[in-house]
Amino acid sequence: MAKLIMTADDSASVRQMVAFTLKQNGYDVVEAVDGRDALNKLNAQKVDMLLTDLNMPNMDGIGLIKGVRAGTLNKFIPIVMLTTESNDTRKGEGKAAGATGWIVKPFKPEQLIAVIKKVLG
């Protein structure tokens, strides 16, 4: 059975490219347009992994990670930040919030897939 991965990003074109890459590699994808949308969906649906942007309206990526880790359904899933942000301080914040990894955009499909395979074991 295909693994289900959520992509949370306020950019439709980025979500589109993430979904394209994941589907081409046999993953199922669920999309969220911002942190709040993602958290709502994650409270109702079990996923295998979360890929999230950092800067999003309504709730940013750090807030989303904290929300997921505080929840129950997807508490222990791997969460990888997929963001344009490359600042070490911000990375530290992500790590502290519970992020598993950090990918600075733009990503290459093979790179994203390699990271996913790594974190999903």
Binding site: S13, T84, N87, G101, V104, P106
Partner: protein, 605 residues
């Protein structure tokens, strides 16, 4: 540079002018950031289709290659090679048999020629018998009552004369028949051989060439599998480039938003400066800051717009490259499989060659049958001639008997029958001559029989074997032809579908890419904004030169950056303004790069 702070009124006018430049620039930048995503989404929505169709084309190319190079084709090639060897062996044997048969027939022909002499002897014997019959009748008449017994003798001699004439005529007729049969058959065999030589040679040459082509196709296909893999990997790379470049829209949008934020802040400060009727220091600081901000945002915008332009070009180039690669695969597929673009292939030629080979084999079989029939006919005719010879031998014995009776009767007649004794002697000599001539004919016939006997037997035997062999080869060829036809049908079908798919993919990619002008439009927008910012920089620097405190003055901006490129641009400009050696953005980026297992943009915690 000379101090050019003018009156507060003039400064207000200048600030107002700058605000008037910056405000529409902000509007343009917002338009750039907010109205272009649909075009990216439209390309993105087709990307899945392009990728899937590319993969399908590669799969079809591989399938087509497997059609002409799979295990069944290897088996077919092997069978064809064996068939070629069998055919060559068969044709060689047929030629050898034909040559031997012709040689035998020529020998028979020569032997038949030798029959002329004894047959001529029979002819003379016939004339002599008739003469003796007449002479006997005359002598018998002269003797009157005394020679009355010789009349019957004369009639017997005459009867024998007729019989010799009849039998020798029959032998002559059969000899003539046989000679004609042999001459006609030799002519037919030689004509057939000459025709077959041309046909067989050309057909075997063509079939051999096609067989080599089949082997070459196999080899090319094995290599082509690797080529398809390489091209597919290149297509994957192209798609990967598109995916990366598609993200540049979002990144550029963020950069533009940061530029907008900086310009909005500047416009606010320019407005505040007017309201406060600022002092010289504040005015100078505002003017320097206007220059610094605009110079920095000019650099940021220049970079962002350039990145977007390049990204769109990369997207378009790579999508076209995907279509081009698929066309290349289709073209290469046609080349390696030996097909023409219209779907015909060497398999057609090969099938035609095989059909021709079948015709040649059929012709060979017919020639074999004809030769066998001829040899049978020769045998039958020889047997018939032998029967006539047997009859003549019997006539010889009868002559001998008549001669003995004549001699006895002549002796009983006494001196008056002396003449009849001479005639009896002559009849006796004829008897001996008859034996000699029949022995000669019998000897020739024995010779012909000896020459033809084994050939007739072998011919029947070999004809049976070669008949079986030809039927077997024809059956095998029918199977091969059927396999070739199936392969050809599938090849045409897949090739046609492949070409169709490549064509539609190329058209769709062209249709998708030709309508994309977002990069040109955003470049035009950016150029307009850049010109505005450049004007403000030039005017501000003319009033107040750039400060070495650039970095410090714009430190607040650093907090808003999210992208490394923004920081690098800021850093590069700050170094320049601080009097440090100018560095390129790329070199600053390189200083800060930190490669990891997955690339320098990935960190796993």
């Amino acid at each position: 540079m000379a101090f050019k702070i003018v009156s507060p009124g003039e400064n207000d006018k200048q600030f107002s002018c700058w605000r008037g430049i910056i405000a529409p620039a902000i509007g343009t930048l917002r338009q750039m950031a907010g109205t272009t995503e649909d075009e990216f989404l439209q390309i993105g929505s087709r990307l899945h289709s392009f990728y899937q169709r590319s993969a399908d084309i590669s799969a079809m190319a591989n399938h087509l290659v497997s059609v002409v190079s799979g295990e069944s084709v290897v088996t077919l090639t092997s069978r064809l090679q064996q068939m070629m060897a069998d055919m060559e062996a068969y044709l060689g044997n047929a030629r050898s048999r034909s040559s031997q048969s012709c040689s035998t027939l020529e020998q028979v022909q020569n032997l038949l020629d030798k029959l002329s002499e004894p047959l001529e002897g029979f002819h003379k014997m016939n004339k002599t018998l008739r003469m003796l019959s007449i002479s006997t009748k005359i002598e018998s008449s002269r003797l009157g009552e005394l020679g009355s017994g010789f009349v019957n003798l004369a009639m017997d001699v005459e009867k024998l004369s007729h019989q010799v004439n009849e039998k020798s005529a029959a032998i002559l007729a059969h000899r003539q028949l046989l000679a004609t049969l042999i001459t006609d058959n030799l002519a037919l065999v030689r004509a057939t051989e000459a025709k077959q030589d041309v046909n067989v040679s050309a057909t075997l040459k063509d079939t051999s060439a096609n067989l080599m082509e089949l082997v070459a196709v196999n080899e090319r296909c094995m290599m082509f599998g690797r080529t398809v893999s390489i091209i597919s990997a290149e297509v994957t790379d192209s798609i990967s480039e598109v995916v990366s470049s598609m993200q540049m829209h979002d990144m550029t949008r963020q950069q533009l938003e940061h530029v907008v934020e900086a310009l909005e802040r500047l416009i606010g400060e320019l407005a505040e400066s007017k309201a406060a009727a600022a002092d010289d220091h504040t005015l100078r600081r505002t003017i320097v800051e206007a220059g610094d901000v605009c110079e920095l945002q000019e650099a940021q915008l220049h970079f962002a717009a350039g990145e977007l332009y390049t990204a769109v070009c990369i997207i378009l180039d790579n999508l076209r490259e995907v279509a081009r690669k698929q066309s290349l695969i289709a073209q290469e597929t046609i080349t390696v499989t030996g097909a023409d673009s219209d779907g015909s292939s060497f398999i057609d030629v090969m099938s035609q060659g095989m059909t021709a080979v079948t015709a040649v084999l059929t012709s060979c079989a017919k020639a074999d049958n004809d030769m066998s029939a001829t040899m049978k006919k020769v045998g039958q005719t020889i047997d018939e001639i032998a029967a006539f010879v047997f009859d003549i031998e019997a006539i010889g014995s009868e002559i001998d008997l008549i001669a003995l009776n004549s001699q006895i009767k002549a002796a009983l007649t006494g001196t008056d029958g002396a003449a009849l004794g001479v005639l009896a002697e002559a009849i006796k000599r004829l008897s001996d001559e008859a034996v000699r001539q029949t022995d000669a004919v019998a000897g020739i016939l024995t010779g012909i029989h000896a020459v033809t006997e084994h050939l007739i037997a072998d011919s029947e035997n070999e004809n049976d074997q070669s008949g079986t062999c030809i039927i077997s080869m024809q059956d095998e060829l029918a199977v091969i032809l059927s396999s070739l036809a199936e392969m050809d049908t599938e090849m045409r079908s897949v090739l046609s579908a492949l070409n169709e798919r490549v064509l539609t993919l190329t058209q769709d990619v062209e249709q998708t890419t030709s309508g994309v002008d977002v990069h040109e439009r955003t470049k035009a927008m950016a150029d307009g904004v850049l010109a505005s910012l450049e004007l403000i920089v030039a005017q501000s620097r003319q009033i107040e030169p750039a400060s070495s405190e650039f970095k410090e003055n714009l430190r607040h901006m650093e907090e808003h950056y999210t992208m490394e490129s923004e920081r690098h641009i800021h850093e590069a400009l700050a170094r320049k303004r601080s009097g440090l050696s100018a560095v390129s953005i790329e070199s600053v980026a390189k200083e800060n790069s930190d490669d990891s297992e997955f690339g320098d943009n990935v960190d796993l915690f």
